[in-house]
Symmetry: C2
């Protein structure tokens, strides 16, 4: 980890983000010091400020990058017209995307209260857009008589909360494959929004 003096602008930046991501996820934003991040990267604390104006921007950047990647990746998925197929695609996409990025997901959900008010609004806005994508599917399904939910807003949040739960217990070396988990959750989502 220790390094000699020199210029490494092209690699230090990403390394700082990776170290901050892992440390924030493991110990929490407030519990991690800039000195700790610097030690992980192998530079002195002062050098971090060549890449970020302050600690808050480091957190905000990580959360914003994550939410933007989430929205962009979902937007790039093939979108069919059938609400049922769309809901299955969303379910499987959500689980897959989130299981691939446990640290980012953890931070995005746990560190909201450590954002400044302006940054909090920005992240909440991105999250709202993702929820809107799911709600649009549910609304189309309800309109087509394929789904039956009392309230599409609540159903949206219920489905996302349920799917987010996967990250708290799934282990790659566990007894179920990722695809089996996807199928199990899709089965419950499908039934939960189906007509009674």
């Amino acid at each position: 980890m220790a390094r000699t003096t020199g210029s490494h602008s092209d690699i230090t930046g990403p390394r700082i983000q990776e170290a901050a991501l892992r440390l924030f996820a493991q110990h929490g934003y407030a519990a991690v010091s800039m000195r700790q991040i610097a030690r992980e990267v192998g530079v002195q604390a002062g050098a971090l400020y060549n890449y970020t104006p302050d600690k808050q921007s480091l957190l905000f950047g990580l959360m914003q990058d994550h939410m933007r990647a989430l929205l962009a990746t979902w937007a790039a998925q093939p979108q069919g017209r059938d609400p049922c197929a769309a809901l299955e695609a969303f379910t499987r996409f959500h689980i897959r995307f989130h299981l691939e990025r446990p640290d980012e997901v953890f931070i995005a959900y746990m560190e909201l209260r450590n954002l400044t008010p302006e940054n909090h609004v920005a992240i909440s806005d991105l999250r709202g857009r993702y929820e809107d994508a799911l709600e649009a599917i549910l609304k189309r399904g309800v309109a087509a008589g394929l789904f039956d939910v009392a309230d599409t807003k609540i159903a949206t949040r219920a489905v996302i909360a349920m799917l987010n739960g996967v990250n708290t217990w799934y282990r790659a070396d566990g007894r179920l494959s990722q695809t089996e988990v996807e199928t199990t959750y899709w089965d419950m989502v499908r039934k939960a929004v189906a007509p009674a």
Copy 2:
């Protein structure tokens, strides 16, 4: 908030717990200082140590009290033999109990990583017992042919994750009453575990 010197052992203890609860929930354990808690209570920081050996014990006590109250209150609910009625009772109980204690719930889920390893084990054990209560209901329902889930362990976690989500958006002055929310979630839970 400011107070003059004197002895108030009977009221200071609870006031410290209340202040710590609210501050930990709002800003996070790591971001809250003992001085902040003391200021809220109206004593000097040193006085806190008459009531807790250290900051960690304060957090652990709050989480342990919450989990024990959760288990005890559930155990005191009338328990019927019908799995379907039991699942509805669990759903409504869970939402009601959690909406009544938003700060405790927030801490119990967000501050796990700030517990010492021994304390983490103790809280995880209590949480596991609560999950077991739900899983037992699901197992009885599956055995009776009333429910159909691919995996009772996953279904247990999925249901709890879904129900926990209520705390992130429900506001008492919102458009839905607590009972309406309970009914909406019960409808989704019921269908999610029903035979296909």
